[in-house]
């Protein structure tokens, strides 16, 4: 399936913002099941310096430097993506005990290594309430993949999607205690839950198809950048993506941008301009299938 993706993030400042540096992670990735056909990122005002590179996790990063004050900053992605993969059908993943044994084997420090995704990370501290929830939901799950979907489904049933209940700074324990939040909160909570079961779990940012195929439901989170979870289901199965906000395994409607341990590793915009006054930001995302 070919998609045209556009995403615009705008910051408007009350007082002109002075020079600054910005990291953008907006460009769709080229990974198994997904190919970036073409894409570009535009910035306003015109940056004094620009550098495109790949970060530790393999994500595309655009680094911009601004030297002139501005009262508006706008970043715009235009990309065409070819998405092929469907959700996996056969569950060959080990049970949780065997998963632990596989993790005890000598590993590597490469970007896909599960060991990055086990311990606490900057945004995700262990939380006893989430751990208790996870233990109950995963009880009796025959495989790691089954545990992933069981905990994800239980979470989806427990949580209420509410775009106004949390902010980008809300930590998973708080969002879980309130039982509400957006895709970022759903994902952070599920990652915390999986890590409490010793299942390596990471954060994925991306885009969702805006209008569902005929007969399908419109997915939650399609108006802005979306987030979901990847879990490591053993040496043979590897990483499986799961969307707790929509309670589904990730398929052809999801377009991946960046992966990391939590939101901090993949934030679409990091380090906006410095301003004495307040700022407001707005996001617009459009993902349109071609034919």
């Amino acid at each position: 399936m070919l998609y045209d993706v556009t995403a615009t993030i705008t910051y408007a400042y009350a007082a002109p913002a002075i020079a600054g540096r910005t990291l953008l992670r907006l460009m769709p990735a080229s990974v198994a099941g997904q190919r970036l056909v073409a894409g570009r990122i535009e910035a306003q005002p015109t940056p004094a310096e620009r550098q495109d590179r790949i970060d530790f996790f393999g994500n595309a990063v655009t680094e911009l430097t601004f030297r002139t004050p501005a009262d508006i900053a706008r970043f715009r992605l235009v990309a065409r993506v070819d998405r092929t993969s469907e959700a996996p059908e056969l569950d060959l993943s080990p049970d949780l005990a065997r998963l632990a044994a596989e993790l005890d084997l000598p590993g590597t420090l490469g970007p896909e290594a599960p060991h990055h995704y086990l311990g606490p990370s900057p945004r995700i501290a262990p939380d006893p309430a989430i751990a208790a929830f996870a233990a109950e939901a995963a009880d009796g799950a025959p495989t790691t993949l089954a545990a992933l979907t069981a905990v994800g489904r239980a979470l989806h049933r427990t949580m209420r999607f509410d775009a106004g209940a949390t902010t980008v700074e809300t930590d998973p324990a708080t969002a879980f205690a309130a039982r509400q939040g957006v895709c970022q909160d759903f994902s952070h909570i599920l990652i915390a839950a999986l890590r409490s079961l010793k299942v390596p779990a990471g954060y994925v940012s991306g885009y969702l198809r805006t209008i569902p195929p005929r007969g399908g439901l419109r997915l939650q989170g399609a108006d802005a950048m979306h987030a979901w979870v990847r879990a490591w289901c053993g040496i043979e199965t590897g990483w499986i993506d799961y969307d707790p906000t929509n309670d589904c395994l990730v398929g052809a409607d999801h377009i991946r941008v960046a992966v990391g341990r939590d939101y901090d590793d993949v934030a679409p915009v990091r380090g906006v301009l410095r301003s004495a006054g307040g700022q407001i930001s707005a996001q617009e995302v459009d993902v349109v299938p071609l034919g």
């Binding site: 540096r21 310096e49 530790f56 590597t108 990055h116 311990g119 380090g271």
Partner: protein, 797 residues
């Protein structure tokens, strides 16, 4: 078992050692295993024993006084606020023979090479992990393993350049490593100040005691840092977290001692892969940073986004090869206590030889065999977080297994294993400390330092020893009341004197005037303003209290007018003024604390005494006379500070900003005072008050020989170019300073700052006293404020 007592010393030494009892199964630095005084200690002990107790105490006081005068402090982290503490000197040095030290240094150098190889691997191919020599989880979950630095080769090729080690002595007399300091090792500057203080305590003995000198090490350090510079050969900077850091004193001290720039994250900007310092002359490159800031805080863009003390883009500059950071960002990964468990094996794998100096026995509990070992030897084990970087005696996170039953221990190991280490509860040696005229044994550990030079690692011949407060090994940490002793490495042969210390009264020359960081200029300017503001407030308060004392009442109109004027300045002369004054002095001292590297020791001491005096006024004296006398005393203290600054400080750009601050503040306060007290409607006595506050009573009498009138007062305090209290004098002074600021003083058009000031001064100079109405004076004051803002925007932004 009985403790050992010293054997057969000479008579006076015996008195000194009476009661020196070493705990069983403990080595001692001064006494050998048989209880005999080690030969290397004998000359020192004979000297100490020859001093009558009173003279010894006086000598110790001399050392303490030196440290106080030099302002050596560290910061104590309390529950609520951090407080400054004097450097706690334990006056008795720890003495080590040169041959023994050489062996220790060889062990540390081997360890440094091993650490370099490990950190290079962890930020490169990570073969040690792939080959199973280090667990992946231990690295991947270490918050100091910084992913943005993976694959980044440091400019110059080395990650580690400056290292510290905490070492201790086993009961069998051998040495071992308690902890590696690779992140941003502290203590070298403190070691030097400890040496200076101790050599003053034992001034008579030190000169012929064959103690190896430290200056050569610091020369090597300076040369090594300078050697890391690129072809542009810019200055070396010390990147400090700022005055709230526990070892900030040392950052400022080393900056002054070695002639490095003291920089905070906000002083830096990154442009096109190059690190630039925001100076008063614009952005200037710097390409070597001795980093005293933990890596994670160094760049909010790529590392910890919550950091408010970092520089956005620093990682990008490192990646571009535009800067050498010492030690490399990410070096803190080596400080994890769990790494100690793997070092013996890593030495064999990486270096092909065993560790020359073992480290504290450690087990990583992610491994089943290690968990069993910890359970089997629980009585001698401490559990601690695997990724903690604390020293064994420095942690609140230690969990002695002996205090818990076997089931609790087993449960903890089973659930938290990979997050834990077991570490042996070690017994370290004791060294003598002075107590009530005698020596007593106290636990000690030793901090040693290595610097990478072009010829390899070089060890500091010395360091400092931590001396425990009591018998408890845990009380060795400074934060828990431990103290610090000098370490003397004593040679068999005479040692020539050697020093790098500049004369204390003069600051180190700074070659390039333009390299004053904008933040330092900002602080110096405001230091000048706050000190002057304090002085003006003191004069006004004194005038109020004198008048109340004279007339016995505060009801007279001129006193009421003065009270109202003080109120507009945020001071209530009847109540709580001492606190308000203390706040002003605190603001001045705060500015001074941020530019300590640019200050003479005496200047810093003077402002410290001022702060102390003002704080003692609280609660303030009630009666007018007493208050006036006290305020007079404060004025003298202020004069001492300004005298030191203005008579002794070299005319660097920094001094010019300090002087500008004073001139601008004086112009501001004088125009405001004239507007209030030279107003035609001001009450009887206001003109005399004005002259008094302007410290110009004598001058007025000599110049006019008549009673004060509005014209004479305005003439004297606004327009008289010869009166150092007049507004015009201040503007002339400001012009003189601006002429020397970057961008000025050359042929060509005036800078906006100079132009604004010229207009301001000219307007005033051509005015007559009659024309300077209250409205004009207030307008003039607003113009002065606008000039100050422009100055700030131009140089401090």
């Amino acid at each position: 078992m009985e403790g050992r007592a010293p054997r057969q010393p000479s008579e006076p030494v015996a008195r000194l050692l009476a009661g020196y009892r070493i705990a069983p199964d403990t080595a001692d630095e001064m006494l050998d295993a048989t209880g005999a005084v080690r030969p290397v200690w004998q000359p020192f002990l004979r000297h100490l024993a020859s001093l009558p107790p009173a003279r010894a105490e006086a000598a110790f006081a001399r050392g303490d006084q030196y440290l106080r005068d030099a302002g050596v402090f560290y910061r104590l982290y309390a529950d609520t606020a951090a407080s400054e503490r004097d450097w706690p000197l334990s006056h008795i040095p720890v003495i080590v023979p040169e041959a023994e030290w050489t062996a220790i240094a060889e062990g540390l150098i081997q360890r440094a090479d091993l650490l370099e190889a490990v950190v290079r691997d962890l930020y490169g191919p990570a073969r040690l992990v792939a080959d199973g020599h280090l667990p992946a989880a231990l690295v991947a979950q270490n918050p100091e393993w910084l992913r943005p630095l993976v694959g980044v080769e440091p400019r110059g090729g080395h990650f580690l350049h400056f290292l510290a080690f905490e070492i201790g002595r086993n009961p069998d007399g051998s040495w071992f490593v308690l902890g590696d300091r690779t992140q941003a090792p502290s203590g070298a500057g403190f070691a030097l100040e400890t040496r200076v203080a101790t050599s003053r305590v034992f001034a008579d003995h030190f000169a012929q005691a064959n103690v190896l000198r430290l200056a050569g090490f610091f020369r090597a350090f300076r040369d090594a840092m300078n050697g890391l510079r690129g072809p542009e050969a810019t200055r070396v900077g010390i990147l400090t977290p700022g005055p709230m850091n526990d070892t900030y004193y040392e950052h400022a001290y080393v900056a002054r001692y070695l002639g490095f720039m003291l920089l905070e994250g906000e002083d830096l900007a990154v442009q096109d892969g190059q690190v630039m310092v925001r100076t008063v002359a614009g952005l200037r490159p710097v390409d070597v940073l001795w980093r005293r800031l933990d890596s994670r805080f160094a760049d909010p863009l790529e590392l910890d986004p919550a950091s408010r003390i970092g520089t956005p883009g620093l990682v990008a500059a490192v990646r571009a090869g535009g800067v050498s950071v010492v030690n490399a960002l990410g070096s803190g990964v080596l400080e994890a206590r769990a790494l100690m468990a793997f070092m013996p094996r890593l030495a064999e794998v990486v270096l092909g030889e065993p560790l020359k100096l073992p480290n504290i026995a450690t087990w990583w509990c992610g491994d089943a065999a290690a968990r069993a070992a910890v359970r089997d030897h629980a009585d001698r084990m401490v559990l601690a977080p695997a990724l903690s970087s604390r020293l064994p005696f420095d942690g609140d996170d230690n969990w002695p297994c002996a205090g818990h039953d076997a089931a609790t221990l087993a449960a903890r190991l089973a659930t938290e294993g990979p997050a834990l280490i077991g570490q042996e509860r070690v017994t370290i040696s004791t060294a003598p400390a002075w107590q009530d005229g005698r020596l007593v044994p106290r636990p000690m550990s030793l901090r040693a330092f290595l610097i990478r030079t072009p010829d390899g690692w070089q060890a500091m011949p010395g360091g400092f020893a931590r001396i425990g407060r009591g018998d408890d090994t845990a009380a060795i940490a400074l934060q828990r009341g431990g103290s610090v002793a000098d370490v003397w490495i004593v040679s068999d042969r005479p040692v020539p004197p050697d020093t790098m210390l500049p004369d204390r009264g003069t600051p180190t020359p700074r070659a390039e005037a333009g390299l004053l960081p904008a933040r330092a200029a900002d602080n110096l300017y405001w230091l000048g303003r706050y000190v002057e503001r304090t002085e003006h407030a003191v004069r006004l308060l004194r005038a109020w209290h004198l008048r109340v004392a004279e007339s016995g009442t505060a009801d007279r109109p001129v006193i009421a007018a003065l009270g109202q004027h003080l109120g507009q300045l945020g001071l209530d002369p009847a109540r709580a003024w001492a606190r308000a004054l203390a706040d002003r002095v605190a603001a001045a001292r705060n500015c001074a604390s941020k530019v300590r590297d640019r200050f003479s020791v005496d200047g810093w001491a003077a402002i410290g005494m001022l702060a102390q005096d003002v704080s003692r006024l609280n609660p303030e004296p009630a009666s007018g006379d007493d208050a006036a006398r006290m305020l007079g005393g404060i004025l003298h203290r202020l004069a001492a500070f300004t005298g030191l600054v203005h008579d002794n400080m070299y005319r660097f750009v920094g001094w010019r900003f300090l002087t500008l601050g004073r001139a601008v503040e004086r112009a501001d306060s004088m125009t405001f005072a004239l507007a209030a007290f030279a107003d035609p409607r001001a009450p009887e006595g206001a003109l005399d008050l004005c002259v008094e506050v302007g410290d110009s009573v004598m001058t007025h009498r000599r110049r006019f020989a008549v009673a004060t009138s509005r014209e004479t007062v305005i003439d004297l305090l606004a327009l008289d170019e010869m009166n150092p209290r007049s507004v015009l004098y201040q503007l002339t002074e400001a012009q003189e300073q601006v002429r020397h600021l970057p961008g000025n003083g050359q042929p060509g058009p005036l800078t906006p700052v100079a132009r604004r000031l010229l207009r301001l001064r000219t307007d005033l100079a051509v005015s007559s006293a009659a024309e300077l109405t209250t409205a004009r004076l207030l307008g003039l004051r607003a113009d002065v404020a606008a000039f100050s803002t422009l100055l700030g925007e131009t140089y401090f932004g």
